[in-house]
Structures are given as C-alpha cells and as structure tokens.
C-alpha cells in the first residue's frame, strides 16, 4: 500500500488532473500502470485482456476524477475500477468464449513479468508446476471470489481496503476470501504436498 508521501503526491496530481492537466494525469498513469496491470492480469489471466482492462480503468478514472473524494488512497480507488472491469471482462468472456485460459503466469513472458527467477533447473521446474497448479486453481474460482483473493494474497490489501476496492461489506470480503481459499484447497487437493 502506498505511503503517506505517495498518497499526498497522488492527491496533488489528482487535483491537477481534475482541472484538466493531462500531464499530471499522465504521471498518475505512470505511477500506477504496473500495479493496475498486475491486478487486472491476476484476475483475468490473459495478457491482452489485462492490458485492455488496465487502460480502460484509467480512461474511466479520468472521466470520474471529480468523484474521487480522497477518503481512500488513489490506488484503492483505482483498484475498484480495475477489479470491476476485470470481473466484467471475465463474465463476458465466460459467456462468449470459455477457452481463453492463459497459463502464462506459469511461464512469465520475456521482458514482462517476473521476479524471483529460480536458480536451478529443478527449482525452476517445481516453481513452474506450482504456479501452473495455482493458476488452474484460481481459474476455477468465480470472478468476484478471485478478485478478493488476488487483492488479499497477491496485492496484500487489508480487509478494509479490499472492502473499499470491491465495494462490499467486510463480512462479504471475509466470506468470499474463505470460500476462495477453501475452493483452492479442494481444487489443488492431492497436489497440495507440492506447494512447499
């Protein structure tokens, strides 16, 4: 989560962007584009869709900057837009084209994602298998549950921040998180021993 200095900077940029300063808005985009893309990608699991969702989220954010009250951080506010668009994208995709599963999380693309590169072929293989298992497990979750899980476990947001980002109560966040974890536990089932 952003520190207070970063939040203050964001707020200043938002004020300028609200007055029509496209340069300030560009700075906001550059500050948050990677994180927004990551959230979108973790939910939709498709690079092209994630790119489209993240860009659309900034377009929507620009259109509704005046409604940003500053109660939450800009990134939480932006997360809400990203997550809603990502969920929407998933629902549209599930109805239209159920075969767009993207396992690229298991093998990060060249020049793209990737931190913590494995150092031996064995660990690389294990790591890839684990990520593939997880990706399939997450893929089996309903969009709304997937979004909560991603925000909590991958983005590290608190329950309150997720509640604001997803626009539901704390109880719903806890409930969705629990069902997502349990579902993942069931889907991974016999392979859980590999997740060490």
């Amino acid at each position: 989560m952003p520190g207070s200095e970063e939040r203050a900077d964001d707020r200043h940029l938002v004020e300028q962007a609200t007055r029509g300063d496209r340069e300030a808005f560009g700075s906001l985009v550059r500050r948050h584009q990677d994180r927004s893309f990551n959230v979108a990608y973790q939910v939709v699991r498709n690079r092209d869709d994630a790119l489209d969702v993240a860009q659309d989220a900034f377009v929507k954010a620009f259109a509704s900057l005046s409604s940003f009250k500053g109660e939450a951080s800009f990134s939480t506010w932006l997360h809400r837009i990203v997550v809603n668009l990502a969920i929407d994208c998933l629902r549209r995709r599930r109805r239209g084209d159920p075969t767009t599963y993207d396992d690229r999380l298991a093998v990060p693309e060249e020049g793209g994602a990737s931190q913590a590169a494995p150092d031996t072929p064995e660990t690389a293989l294990e790591s890839r298998q684990v990520r593939s298992l997880l990706a399939r497990g997450i893929q089996a979750l309903p969009p709304a549950h997937r979004a909560v899980l991603v925000l909590r476990e991958i983005e590290g947001l608190s329950y309150e921040e997720i509640s604001r980002a997803v626009g539901c109560s704390l109880g719903t966040v806890m409930s969705r998180l629990f069902y997502a974890r349990r579902k993942l536990q069931k889907v991974l089932g016999p392979n859980l021993e590999d997740l060490r």
Partner: protein
C-alpha cells in the same frame, strides 16, 4: 469427543482455521485457536494445507508491462480519452450461478421456494381428486364402461354438459 475435535468439525467447514492459517485472527483469538489446533491432528492437517495454499499465493510473482507495452500504455489511454470512450463498455450482469454462489441465502431461499411449490402442487392435486369424485384432471367423468369379447366401449361426459364422448376399442385380432 474432545473440544479440539469440535473445532475441526465446525471450524474446518467455517472460517476460523483458514483465517488462523493466514494469520488473520486477532491476537487473542489466534492464540486460542493455536492452543486448540495443537491438540487436534485433523485441525493441524487442515491448517497446514491452508498455509501451503496461502504461502504459494503470496509467492506468486507480480506481472508487469513489457517495455513495448509500457511505451504504448499511456498514448493508448490518451487516444481512448480523446475518442470519448470513458463511458462505454456495458456492464455484464452476473450469471445466475454467480448470484447464487455469492449469496448462499439466495440458494436457500430458492430451495425453500421450490419445496413450497412442490408441496402446493401436491396438495392442490389431492384436493382436486378428493372434491371431484370420479372426475379426472380435465373434469371429465366416466359415465360407463362396457367390456365385450371383441370390443370395449367407454362413455365420458363433462359435468354440466349433455355432450357425451364415446370411445370404442375394437380387438382387430378377433
């Protein structure tokens, strides 16, 4: 049965163990559950499996834009803003399965409504049969049935009508 086993039966299907495994319970509750889990092997296995899932999730690498994607990211946003796409993209409504999945109360209410409907239909059928005597569901009564060696004759009549319907079943083999 030991107290810890009750925790597994109830907690294993509820939230405490998953939240405990993720370290999300308040400190006092976390310590309390820890003590109970220590006394329950099944709870421990449950917690360990949740911990593996959580640890693997938290170790998921972040995905970032490639250099090429990053270079065109902002220009594309500006292009969309200039084209006035801020308010497009109609929202996809959640599917029935998602609505039910997200709201267990909806599924319970649906099951309850279905049960009420079935009971209602059954009771109304009983009433219909009980009140109309020989009348079937169409309200037609069987006036007479005659069975002969080579044919059978059934006469039906709607209550309150002089119209009679006569069915003759012939045995062609004879």
């Amino acid at each position: 049965m030991k107290r810890a086993h009750w925790l597994h039966i109830i907690g294993g299907r509820g939230r405490p163990l998953a939240a405990y495994a993720a370290g999300e319970l308040p400190p006092a509750e976390q310590a309390h559950v820890a003590a109970l889990v220590a006394d329950c092997p099944a709870c421990r296995r449950e917690v360990e499996s949740y911990q593996r899932v959580t640890a693997a999730l938290r170790a998921t690498p972040r995905v970032s834009l490639t250099t090429g994607e990053a270079a065109t990211f902002l220009p594309e946003i500006n292009r969309r803003i200039d084209r006035g796409q801020g308010a497009r993209a109609p929202q996809a409504r959640p599917g029935l399965r998602e609505v039910v999945w997200d709201h267990p109360r909806v599924s319970l209410a649906s099951a309850f409504t279905a049960a009420l409907f079935i009971i209602g239909v059954t009771v109304s059928q009983w009433q219909m049969w009980g009140l109309s005597g020989t009348a079937g569901t169409n309200g037609v009564e069987v006036v007479s049935v005659e069975v002969a060696e080579d044919a059978s004759v059934m006469v039906f009549q709607a209550p309150g009508s002089s119209l009679k319907i006569i069915w003759v079943f012939e045995d062609n083999a004879t």
